[in-house]
């Protein structure tokens, strides 16, 4: 992907400004028969920010997006997007761009045909549609593949085209449902750069993800959803501070049981052969983190355990997520070990 100055292709002046918050949901509920997919979600997404909606598969992320984009009618609750009630479909449609979890493309069309069709159906006139299609193909590094059928594209190319499609009309509010799933690390980082550019240009981005690193890197605020409920919402730093723990990783000559005996009252887990992880207590009553590190080292030395190497990691979003939900997200790419599993 190449970077461009403008990604707000074809944005009409009338929809540039949206009220703050750009997205507001109150007690949203979605039931499918007896199954409650979303159970009373309330959110406020400030204008021109990136809001990450973090949760594992089946937690209710996509269902929330579908309700906020009028693809699904809420069973209860209300929501406003860009200042309009989501039941006012025509007005909301004019203000949003959406990518779904699966790329929404017709494999039989070429990329340029696809973009021109969507631009036309979005209300752009033919000449404008052609210009927007060319700009987006260029922006997303697809210009050379413009006349190839989408069915011949790689997964990453299809994802890029799908996101380019969502930008037609320059929507001030963008919903990206797991946009980087299936992308290689390079493409993922390039897409992050695009999303940051969009925020700088005033776009509000609602991003669902199951990648902790993605939420940490991109988001201004993060909401953690689990079993249909938002269980925490804060800045990434706030979540880490509230729910994360500093880790000490020790390479030592003793076994895990000896270390646990030497550190009564501390959370100690195995981290591989000859390696252990000690989670520091976030409660300041236990002393500052520096004081706790020194205390641990003194207790270990007093027990006669030799330390070969030591590293200290600040709290991560991963730690915070684990403490909030009690289990790891398993995506195949960000498979997280639970440091407290052995505690």
């Amino acid at each position: 992907m190449t970077s461009t100055g403008s990604l707000v292709a074809g944005r009409p002046a009338a929809v540039r400004e949206v009220p703050d918050p750009a997205i507001e949901a109150t007690d949203l509920v979605k039931r499918y028969g007896d199954v409650v997919a979303v159970d009373g979600v309330s959110l406020r997404v400030p204008r021109a920010t990136i809001f990450a909606y973090l949760g594992r598969n089946g937690s209710g992320k996509t269902t929330t997006v579908r309700m906020l984009t009028m693809l699904s009618v809420p069973s209860a609750g209300t929501a406003r997007v860009a200042g309009y009630d989501v039941r006012d479909a025509a007005r909301v449609r004019a203000c949003i761009g959406v990518t779904m979890q699966e790329a929404a493309l017709d494999p039989a069309m070429t990329a340029v045909e696809h973009l021109r069709l969507v631009a036309g159906l979005s209300g752009l006139r033919s000449r404008q549609a052609r210009a927007v299609a060319a700009e987006l193909l260029d922006s997303f590094g697809l210009a050379e593949a413009a006349t190839r059928r989408i069915g011949t594209f790689s997964g990453g190319m299809q994802r890029r085209l799908d996101i380019a499609t969502a930008l037609i009309g320059g929507p001030p509010v963008l919903f990206l449902d797991e946009p980087t799933t299936g992308l290689d690390p390079q493409s993922r980082r390039a897409l992050w750069a695009h999303i940051r550019t969009l925020r700088q240009q005033g776009t509000t981005v609602f991003l669902t993800t199951q990648y902790l690193e993605e939420a940490d890197e991109l988001a201004d605020r993060v909401a953690v959803i689990d079993q249909g409920r938002v269980i925490a919402e804060d800045t990434p730093q706030g979540l880490k501070a509230r729910f994360g723990r500093t880790r000490m990783v020790l390479d030592h000559d003793g076994d895990l049981d000896r270390l646990r005996t030497a550190l009564p009252g501390r959370n100690v887990a195995g981290g591989g052969p000859g390696r252990s992880v000690v989670l520091l207590d976030p409660d300041t009553a236990s002393g500052s983190e520096g004081a706790q590190v020194l205390s641990v080292l003194e207790q270990v030395r007093a027990a006669g355990i030799e330390i070969g190497a030591l590293s200290v990691s600040p709290p991560s979003l991963e730690d915070a997520y684990l403490r909030l939900t009690g289990s790891a997200i398993t995506t195949g790419q960000d498979q997280l070990a639970d440091p407290e599993a052995g505690l």
Binding site: S72, A90, A94, A104, L105, D106, L121, S122, G123
Partner: protein
Amino acid sequence: MRDLLTGTLLTFARQARQAARDPGPFYVLPMLPAQLMTVVFIALFERIATLDRFGDTGYAEFLVPGVVVLVALLGAGATSSSLAADLRGGFFLRLRLLRSPIGAQLSGRLLFEAVRLLPGTAVVLAVGLAFGAQARNGLAGILVVMALVALLGVAFTGIFYAVAIRTRDPQTPFTLQPLGLPLAFLSTALVPLAVMPQWARTLAQLNPVTVVVDGSREAMLGQLWSAELGWSVAVLAAWTVLGVLLARAALARDMARS
């Protein structure tokens, strides 16, 4: 209204591009059964016209304005395939999010259904004329018959859309193709009511295709603007409305389930 019109034309153009890349199912297949029957039936059953109950016309004259409706009955609904594929592949979700009314996805395809049947209809009529059919109202009569076939294709396609939306199966045109056989054979497309057994005559009289065939036959062999033609247009309009309502209901149900 402007958005619906623009959406209809863009959807029509998308279908036309798809058909240009794969013309077989859209242009060639619809005319093959009617073409085959025109040649074979005239050769095999020409003497049926000597029956007392048959009437004054020769069999080729009688057959061609009737058999030509098989272009629609056995060739309609090809665009339901892309509708099902859009729903199955998720592209339809994207289309639902756009400014253009979702009804344009149906109207654009229906318009293309009408247009794509015209070449096959023209070929069947041309071959029929070469084999002894008559066009007593000249080109005007032929154009009226072509219009009736196109409208029949539109009317018949509604049920294809309803099923394609329900099943999301791109094979829907092939699955439903046999539906056209009883509609064709239990009508006056191939033989007059007078030579049918009583049970078949009863069914043929209830069959809306009989009304369309009577209008077609009248346009080629009798008066160009006849009561039969008026009835044909009325029946096709009602059939189209019913088909579109069925498709819209299937679509509304599909959207409500999400």
